[in-house]
């Protein structure tokens, strides 16, 4: 089999189990057409080519190819249902097929008339007034399969609608021709076209006619449904289908861990406990003595440093025990472990307690200014009611998805075939191909080598047993590929234990946040200073000046990569992405503002966990708002609304499509903190691409206050001992969430969380039930880390092991949860991550209100008793 780019239509149809004669709709992305994209494909006749999105089988049944990874958001169901809705497909005749990794072939670019229509800032009002939702996107449907940043629906809602409407229109026209009537006289409903005089026919009989239709972009656009016509989308007439639910409750869903390839062996790997360590010696004999163990092999030769800081997805150094089954591999690994000696390397002194002091020291000093409005120092000096200062700390956190990392790889005929649960199919494909072809990391910095690597690997994306950012990093796929290359022709499965998952995560950054404010006569802040130090994922994902042996041109290339991939920034400072998640877009209306980013070195693999930098930024700023409200003697909800101030779009003047273009063209300066200091209270939007709208923040706060009965309860709890309410609100991934927590604290300092209320503004809630489910789950996730979450490191190695010492929330600890959605017809925005960040600060504020301590660090169980 040649490269994946060369898979022909016939190959694909065979693989998809459909005969020839089927009708295939897809984006035909040869270079010349790529710039024009989907619509032009439809105009030029339904392409029958090698990247199908929809396949109509000869019996009229529909196969929808879903290219975003499914890890619990319900996204593959939701996107397919959007298409089916516009297409008027009968859902009972729809099957889904998960796309293999394909190096960006799902790219869809709207034609010029669409992209120019919506310049930023986005014209909300115009959209809201339009009865027929216009086509738009806030996050470009760039073809990436990388399922992160809560952007699948944001990017692909319009795309899926267009596909559906285009097919429906073609069917209607084909039927009209067949009957000799006008298309206007026909309508489609559930896989049938209905015409005048009681005529009707199934889509299956229209396939050949539809194939000849060439509807224009304008016609397809006009064929889109109105809101009232939507069957599933939004508040549709029927519940949104949930394709995978039935298989899931019967144990039939195939997760990565369930892949079984004939002749497969299972490997367990004993890894170097410290990042960038190397293997010195090992003795395979005790492991080989275990029945079922086939062989023992190191991941890298002795002396070669493994993954960690600056090495992105390179696996840790380790020794693999390859066996007939998982139990034998586990037993063999236990026997092997005492025989290994490691060179622990430069990070063996990394220690959480010392690191915390380092970060807090860093935020005690001025950092790089990232946003400035007038002069905070003057305001602090003249503060009428004094100043307040607080330091907040968040430790490393591990995602701990229920399915530990796992991957199967098979190397034969010079190619790598992989089956894996991954959020990052393209990254997985590159890593697998890199191993297949033996390319160095340096070579992989070159796009032509990356393309060769992609072409040498096939990655089948399975269902994910949770992701939360962990499965964005294909290090475990690299391990499987390395072991497969060592034993060509034999499929090798690498199974991680829970201990492996806890000890070898890509942890969320540890962070110190230093806040200072001066209060004016009205008890509102006259100045606000925030200093943020975070262990940026830069340090892990991209080599930097501290990486040995890099030349100047290499360093320059990596600096460019940082800019292109992460919105600029320079190690050991934070990336543009991290700064844009709750620091630069700080929404409070304060007359003097200075936001700074402070140094933080990286000594362990750092990645991200659900909501990423919003975790520590939202915790700090919302906790501080709560502290200020108490100092002002005000109701925390009213005070929060006053802090946010009048309704406005942050950065409405500076945010133009031009600045986005400059960013995309890598024209921003490279040195220092890269992105120029933002002056005059305006916000850097180059990463988010969408201006924060404080009216939405206000809307979620008001709605959650209403639904939680804030006003009455706040008054009532004032006279009660040990009972309190807390509130917090945060924007992330273009959505807005407010959370109210109702707690009591008894004389033994034991915490009871009675109720959590959450409200989200995510534009149009396309799949309302899954939005509510994400809100519920995101609140539980937030409570988990707020109360219990902590990864500590001693001597460079992670201390925690399993759910006994890295506990997560259980059912008996879960309060009643009440969630709601702000009604909106605006374009859909993120849902997977936004529910999480506001939970921890709302809880911290509630604990204070209940007479407990002001908790400025995670996990809270250090200060209160969590039963």
């Amino acid at each position: 089999m040649s490269g994946i780019y060369k898979v022909t239509r016939r190959d694909f149809l065979r693989a998809a189990g459909v005969g020839t004669g089927a009708l295939v709709f897809g984006s035909y992305l040869t270079p010349s057409l790529q710039a024009q994209g989907l619509i032009h494909n439809l105009i030029n006749g339904f392409p029958v080519e090698d990247v199908p999105v929809v396949i109509l089988k000869v019996n009229g049944d529909v196969i929808i190819i879903t290219h975003r990874s499914e890890m619990g958001q319900g996204i593959r169901s939701s996107l397919a249902a959007v298409l089916a809705d516009e297409m008027e497909a009968d859902w009972n005749r729809v099957t889904l097929k998960q796309a293999d990794a394909d190096g960006g072939r799902y790219a869809v670019t709207f034609p010029a008339e669409v992209t120019t229509e919506y310049k930023l800032p986005f014209p909300y009002e115009e959209i809201s007034k339009t009865r027929k939702p216009k086509l738009q996107y806030l996050v470009p449907p760039d073809g990436s399969q990388f399922t992160d940043s809560s952007r699948s629906m944001t990017a692909y809602f319009s795309v899926m609608r267009l596909y559906g409407a285009g097919i429906k229109l073609a069917m209607i026209r084909a039927a009209a021709k067949k009957w000799g009537v006008k298309p206007k006289e026909c309508r489609a409903e559930k896989h049938r076209v209905y015409g005048p005089n009681g005529k009707s026919t199934d889509y299956r009989w229209l396939l050949l006619g539809a194939k000849k239709e060439k509807p224009s972009y304008e016609d397809i656009s006009n064929a889109l449904k109105t809101r009232e016509e939507w069957r599933y989308i939004g508040k549709g007439k029927e519940p949104m289908p949930f394709y995978d639910a039935v298989d899931m409750v019967r144990g039939k869903t195939e997760f990565g861990a369930d892949v079984d390839v004939p002749g497969m062996l299972t490997a367990m790997i004993e890894r170097c406990p410290v990042a960038n360590g190397a293997l010195l010696t090992y003795d395979p004999a005790p492991a080989l003595a275990v029945e079922g163990v086939r062989y023992v092999v190191p991941i890298f030769p002795p002396g070669v440093r493994g993954g960690g800081v600056g090495r992105a997805f390179t696996p840790h150094a380790g020794v693999a025990v390859v066996a007939a089954n998982t139990w034998a591999a586990l037993q063999g690994r236990r026997a092997l472990k005492p025989t290994i000696t490691w060179d622990l390397g430069p990070h063996a002194t990394y220690d959480s307690a010392a690191y915390r002091k380092e970060l807090e020291g860093s935020t005690a000093e001025p950092g790089k200014v990232v946003r400035r409005l007038k002069d905070v120092d003057d305001a602090f000096a003249q503060a009428a009611a004094g100043t307040m200062e607080a330091i907040y700390y968040v430790p490393h956190l591990a995602q701990a998805p229920m399915e530990p990392p796992v991957a199967v790889a098979l190397f034969q005929n010079g190619r790598m075939e992989v089956w894996a649960p991954t959020q990052n199919p393209d990254g997985a494909q590159q890593v697998a191909g890199q191993v297949a072809l033996g390319f160095s990391d340096d070579q992989m910095a070159d796009e032509t080598f990356r393309d060769k690597a992609r072409a040498a690997a096939t990655v089948h994306v399975t269902m994910l047993g949770g992701g939360f950012g962990r499965k964005s990093k294909p290090d475990y796929i690299g391990e499987a590929a390395i072991l497969a290359k060592h034993n060509p022709g034999v499929p090798i499965r690498v199974q991680w234990t829970r201990e492996d998952d806890i000890k070898f995560s890509y942890y969320n950054a540890a962070s110190s946040q230093h806040l200072k404010a001066s209060l004016g006569a009205d008890k509102l802040p006259t100045a606000l200073l925030q200093r943020s130090a975070v262990t940026s994922f830069f340090g892990t994902l991209v080599p930097n000046y501290s990486t040995p042996g890099l030349t100047d041109p290499q360093l320059e290339a990596y600096a460019k990569a940082r800019l292109a991939l992460f919105g600029g920034g320079e190690y050991p400072y934070a990336s543009g992405i991290e700064r844009a998640q709750g620091l630069e877009d700080m929404p409070y209306d304060v007359p003097n503002i200075r936001l700074e980013n402070c140094r933080a070195e990286n000594h362990i693999r750092v990645g991200w966990m659900r909501s990423v930098a919003n975790i520590y930024h939202a915790f700090a700023i919302n906790s501080f708002a709560g502290e200020l409200a108490i100092a002002a003697g005000r109701d925390p909800k009213d005070y929060l609304l006053d802090l946010i101030g009048k309704d406005r779009l942050l950065d409405e003047k500076t945010m133009t499509s031009q600045s986005v273009e400059r960013f995309r063209n890598n024209e921003l300066p490279l040195e220092g903190i890269d992105v120029p200091v933002i002056e005059g209270g305006k916000v850097n939007q180059v990463v988010a691409g969408y201006p924060p709208d404080t009216s939405r923040l206000r809307a979620v706060i008001n709605q959650v206050a209403e639904e939680s009965g804030w006003k009455d309860k706040a008054a009532q709890y004032k006279n009660m001992k040990g009972r309190g309410l807390g509130i917090a609100a945060h924007r992330s991934f273009l959505s807005y969430v407010a959370v109210v927590v109702d707690v009591s604290l008894n004389d033994e300092n034991e915490l009871t969380i009675h109720d959590v209320y959450g409200t989200i503004h995510c534009g149009l809630a396309v799949n309302r039930d899954r939005v509510l489910a994400q809100m519920e789950g995101g609140i539980v996730y937030g409570l988990s880390y707020a109360l219990l979450g902590e990864i500590t490191v001693k001597n460079g190695a992670v201390v925690q092991n399993n759910f006994d010492d890295y506990p997560v929330l259980r059912i008996y600890q879960t309060p009643r949860i009440h969630v709601s959605i702000v009604d909106s017809d605006d374009p859909p925005t993120g849902v997977g991550e936004p529910p999480t960040p506001a939970v921890a600060p709302a809880l911290a504020n509630a604990i204070v209100a209940a007479g407990g301590p002001r908790i400025r660090e995670i996990p809270f169980h250090r200060h209160i008793v969590v039963l």
Partner: protein, 156 residues
């Protein structure tokens, strides 16, 4: 290595394996029953829950040599067609998110349901807390699990 006779979902299987192998790996790697999941390996998360003679147990912590003495039921054998009240309630209320822990959740809930049916006592929130506390769901579907158990009670 010894030969064990395992009675799983009403079918007898003769398997030649290490008697210390946890039932979990015998089910998954030897019998190919993949609905029972590996989540922690130390009886902390409940993803591997199966029934031994109707009792919910963590199959990662039960050796094959012990399991062979009992009738074993896995998620694949809970119902022929997904018609167990828990499975129906789980779908109706849209409980699963990623779905990985749900077979274990359902097996634990099904044992709770059966126990209460036998004694003809209603299931309280405390009963749910006690029975389900060993099953972790990282997606946080707990509120819907609670509601679905109550719904399943009505259905059964």
């Amino acid at each position: 290595m010894s030969i064990f006779q395992l009675r799983v979902n009403g079918t007898y299987h003769n398997v030649e394996i290490d008697g210390n192998m946890p039932l979990l790996w015998a089910l998954r790697d030897v019998l190919g029953l993949k609905g029972t999941k590996f989540g922690c390996g130390v009886a902390q998360c409940g993803a591997c829950t199966v029934h031994l003679d109707g009792r919910a147990v963590r199959s990662c912590a039960v050796d094959v040599g012990v399991a062979c003495l009992s009738e074993i039921t896995t998620i694949e054998g809970l119902s022929r067609d997904g018609s167990h009240p828990c499975q129906k309630a789980w779908v109706e209320l849209g409980v699963p998110q990623c779905g990985f822990c749900q077979p274990g959740q359902i097996m634990t809930a099904a044992a709770l349901l059966a126990a209460h049916k036998e004694t003809n006592t209603p299931i309280t929130d405390d009963d749910i807390d006690n029975a389900m506390r060993g099953n972790i769901c990282r997606c946080g579907t707990y509120p819907r699990i609670r509601a679905a158990i109550k719904e399943a009670e009505k259905l059964s």
